[in-house]
Symmetry: C2
Subunit: 350 residues, 2 copies
């Protein structure tokens, strides 16, 4: 890399109250890191805009460590190894993992995973269906919720990155009914028309979501894949079938909330229906390479058979990252939101 | 049975609002039933006072069918077959099952289960540790919560019938820490001294239950056996360990509540800890005789080895049943609350 390389970083200036505002963050320039023993340095190519990043900006994120004040904003990245002091990684390798909103990141080599470039897809695909999003949908629906042929399935966040895949995988797994929930006419249309949902309930629409769920599931629900949390979960719990399974996959209603919304008052439904609810994080399986590989192969196969559609909303530009991030919460994006860094050193050093 | 036999019954006069009041119920006298084809008639010996009966008095009980207005109050009974039109049951057999607050009940023979008298215990024991209570504790802790050696276990309702057994079974299963929650100094003392809890948190005491749980579990909780629901559950969820398991075994805070308490606002904890929560009813296993038998044998063994203590609060008298039932909710009982019916025909026909 050139000597003149600079390392732009977005730092946390103060902890946001609700939505992230411009004065919560600060654009700074740091040294390009050098690798310690067992470490690698990565030039970032893609930043993944995940809602959970908002959690990490809080003093008590709910899980994991908070981002330090004056520290760089943490997030999943895809990039190229530009320096390595670990035998398992060499310059030019493409890797992904937890980095930060920076031109360059460094860390222990074993905290980054090889991008499975052998599948032959464009790089952004590894931030989505062949990355954490696809693994989340695959693991969450097939293992955590244990979807089975004949199941009636409800998926919240149906037009989102994870939800768009969950509906299609449910169909592939033999579910007889796949209903989504999303906010707004446009998102609902995309869920039904593009992602194959039988129908999509608009929680911003004129029919109360509770009534819409009751109407959609006269015989009840076997599987709830819950991407959102809050009142949607309560409405879904009212319509469980015997032995129903609820997978809790992050709960976006919680992100950036200044007060916790009240929880569902009807957990009794779990007792009455001998039902189970299980939370999960995709990191639960990332340490199991064989399992990850099996899931990726299956997902790749479904893409090639044209059974799995996905959308990536690729933005370019480092300086607009905070605005781009907020699109996650305003809904001003369509598909997996990824930023390609306009790295000023990119052309010189690639 | 003598011709003069009468069949006293407690009927639901109107649906209670909150606690059951005398004017909600009505004592009536009906005919002793005669069995239809495949049915049996049972003279009731013991009535089990289960909190879930209060649910069935509501128009929308949460599960099962509501008790009909002017219909007899439903409940688990133990009794003796006095007439049978089913080949599998004969007069004199002792059976248990869902009956009603009556001197006599009738129904399809296959809805009643033989009392496992072969274990040689006094009859009330089959309403407790060798009946639904013991099966609930055994199934809920070992199968639903999947307790394992080394687990740190929190049990609410620790001085109650189910909770008193759960703590002891957790210890037998190799849990390293077993903490109870109960209401009041007396109950807590009983949980610690009689049922072997390491400590028991008094939710009516001066220390907020949330702080007491935090202090008791500096390293977090692996298993929550939840007998109560409401704010106790929320406090417990704040202290889960990775891969924690929560068994929801009925939730007494809900019974007779005129408004649902808000649910836990921190279900996020299930996601952050990849934890699971599962509701269950003992009826989930009652149709599996081999499984029930294996559990009963194990429970019987633990009684004989003096590893399992239990308490039965046996009351006598049919006319006082409503008052006795309310003791469940005021705490004015100690141990499994059972009513032995002072059946006026008992001496003549036994």
């Amino acid at each position: 890399m050139s000597k003149s390389a600079e390392n732009r970083q977005w730092l946390l200036r103060r902890r946001p109250h609700g939505r992230v505002t411009p004065s919560d963050l600060e654009l700074a320039v740091a040294q390009v890191p050098t690798p310690g023993e067992g470490e690698i340095v990565i030039r970032v190519k893609l930043l993944c805009m995940d809602p959970t990043i908002r959690n990490f900006m809080d003093a008590a994120p709910g899980y994991g460590m908070p981002i330090a004040l004056k520290g760089p904003i943490r997030g999943m990245i895809v990039g190229e190894v530009v320096a390595s002091r670990d035998a398992a990684r060499r310059e030019g390798d493409l890797v992904w993992g937890l980095g930060s909103w920076s031109d360059y990141v460094s860390g222990p080599a074993n905290r980054f995973f090889p991008v499975p470039v052998g599948f032959g897809h464009p790089l952004p695909v590894y931030t989505h269906v062949l990355g954490t999003i696809g693994l989340t949908a695959h693991y969450g629906l097939l293992d955590v919720a244990g979807v089975r042929p004949g199941d009636r399935v409800l998926v919240s966040g149906a037009a989102g990155a994870v939800g768009s895949l969950v509906g299609q995988i449910a169909r592939i797994a033999g579910a007889t009914q796949v209903v989504g929930i999303a906010g707004g006419v446009e998102k609902c249309a995309r869920a039904s028309e593009r992602y194959g949902y039988d129908e999509c309930i608009d929680y911003k629409g004129p029919v109360p979501v509770r009534e819409a769920i009751a109407a959609a599931f006269p015989d009840g629900i076997d599987v709830v894949f819950e991407n959102v949390g809050g009142p949607l979960l309560e409405a879904a719990l009212d319509h469980l079938r015997k032995n129903a399974r609820v997978a809790l996959c992050g709960m976006i209603a919680r992100y950036g909330a200044t007060e916790m919304p009240p929880g569902p008052a009807n957990l009794w439904s779990l007792v009455a229906n001998s039902a189970r609810m299980r939370g999960f994080l995709v990191s639960d399986i990332l340490g199991q390479p064989a399992r990850v590989d099996a899931a990726l192969r299956e997902l790749d196969g479904w893409i090639r058979e044209d059974r799995l559609r996905y959308d990536i909303d690729l933005r370019v530009g480092f300086e607009s990252v905070p605005d781009t991030f907020n699109c996650l919460f305003t809904g001003a994006h369509s598909g997996r939101l990824v930023v390609q860094i306009d790295n000023p050193n990119q052309s010189a050093s690639t």
